[in-house]
Symmetry: C2
Subunit: 228 residues, 2 copies
C-alpha cells in the first residue's frame, strides 16, 4: 500500500469518516493528519462532538472546524438535513424509485466540502485528501460514487501546482465491512454519530439509523452507541 | 443563440462579471436572474459595492451575498488577495515564468465558488450558471480555462436531478473585446472595481489594474473609473 506522509481527512463524526480517520493514521501511517469538519447548517450538529472525540483519539496534528452555517440557509426547503421545516423521513416511508434524490440529500454539498478541503490542503502543500464515501451511500447519492471522485480529481488535476488528489478508499466498501475494519483498528463506535435528526438519542428509524443498525447486525455485534 | 429563462450569475463587481451580468439580462434575455456575490476574505471587498450597483442597474430578480469570510482565514499566507501579511505585487515585479501561479491566485477559490453557486442554483431548480472567466486570466490562472469549465460540468452532469450547467461565454474573449460588448450593452464601467489592493482609488500598478488599463487603451477610450 502506498505510504501517505501528510493528509487532510474530511471528518463528519459519522461511522464512515471516523473509520477513515483511524485508517489514515494507523493503516496508512500518515505522520501529519489534518482533520477537517464542517458546520454547514446540519440539524445533526451533534456529530461534531463525535468528530472532536475521534480526532483526539486518533492523535491528529490538527482538527479544524469550518463554520459555513450559511450553506443550509442558502437553500431554504431544499433538504431535510438543513431545514427545520422539512422533516427527516423514516426510511420506511421512502420509495426510492420515486425519487431522483432522497430528501436527506443536500444539493451539491459534497462537491462544496471537497472544494474547500482541497483549498485547505493546497494552501498547506498537502497532496492527499481523504473522503469517506462508501458504497451504500452511492445507491442514493450521486456525489458518493467512484465516478464522482474521479471527475473531481479530473478538475483538481488541472492545477499548475502539484494537484491535491481525493482518495475514497471505502468507495467500494459496504458499511458492515467498514465496521469490521474499524474494530481491527480500535475505533470506538460509541463516539460516532449517525442519526440525521440529531436529538439526544438516535431515533432509530431515519435512513441513516436504519442503515447503521443493519450493518452492526450483519457484523454480529451490538452497536455500542445504542448500548450506552 | 439559445434562450436562457432562469440563471444564476457569479458577480464579483469586476469588469468581467459586470459585463456578463448585463449580457445575460439584455442579450440572452433571461427573465429571472439571481446575482451571487461572495465575501471570501478578499482585501478588495470594495468590489462588492460595485456588484450591488450593477445588480440594481441590470434589474436582477435577486442579489445575494454569501458571507464566507472564513475562506481566506483558512489559508494563512497562501494568497496576496486574502492575507494582509502578503503584499499585492506590482505587475512589473512579477516574473510569470518563475511562478506556478501568481501570488494573487487564491487556492481552489473558483471551484469553491462554482460549487456553492451550483448548490444555490440546484436548490432553486435553476439550470444555468454563468461564470465570467475570460481568456487573459487563463494565462495565469488554471481555474479560468475552458477545460476547467468543461471538467466542472463533467462533475455536475452526474447529478441524478437535471444538472446545473456552468457557462463561461467570455472564456475565449479578451478584456478589450468584453469592454466593447459591454459598451454596446450600456454597462457603466465607472461602477466596476478591479484593483486588488482595494484602497480608496485604484493603485494602477497591480496586475489587475494594469490589465484593465491596457484593455481600455486598446478600445481607445478613457476608463470612466479613472476619470472620476
Amino acid at each position: 500500500m502506498k505510504t501517505i506522509e501528510r493528509a487532510v481527512v474530511l471528518l463528519s463524526g459519522g461511522l464512515d469518516s471516523s473509520t477513515l480517520l483511524h485508517f489514515v493514521v494507523k493503516k496508512l501511517g500518515a505522520r501529519e493528519v489534518h482533520a477537517l469538519s464542517f458546520l454547514y447548517g446540519q440539524k445533526h450538529r451533534r456529530e461534531l462532538e463525535a468528530a472532536a472525540w475521534q480526532a483526539k483519539a486518533a492523535g491528529v496534528t490538527a482538527h479544524d472546524l469550518v463554520d459555513m452555517e450559511f450553506f443550509g440557509a442558502l437553500m431554504p426547503g431544499a433538504s431535510a438535513l438543513t431545514d427545520a421545516a422539512v422533516a427527516v423521513p423514516r426510511l420506511a416511508d421512502l420509495d426510492s424509485k420515486e425519487l431522483s434524490q432522497p430528501p436527506t440529500y443536500v444539493p451539491n454539498r459534497n462537491m462544496m466540502l471537497l472544494s474547500v478541503a482541497a483549498a485547505y490542503a493546497e494552501a498547506r502543500g498537502i497532496p492527499d485528501l481523504f473522503y469517506g464515501a462508501q458504497t451504500q451511500d452511492s445507491y442514493g447519492y450521486w456525489d458518493c460514487t467512484p465516478v464522482f471522485v474521479e471527475r473531481v480529481n479530473a478538475v483538481l488535476a488541472l492545477n499548475h501546482r502539484p494537484p491535491v488528489k481525493v482518495h475514497a478508499p471505502f468507495v467500494w466498501m459496504r458499511k458492515a465491512e467498514e465496521i469490521k475494519l474499524g474494530l481491527e483498528l480500535g475505533v470506538d463506535y460509541a463516539h460516532t454519530w449517525t442519526c440525521y435528526r440529531g436529538d439526544a438519542v438516535p431515533c432509530g428509524d431515519c435512513p441513516s439509523c436504519v442503515e447503521r443498525a443493519a450493518a452492526f447486525k450483519e457484523v454480529g455485534i451490538v452497536d455500542p452507541l445504542m448500548a450506552t
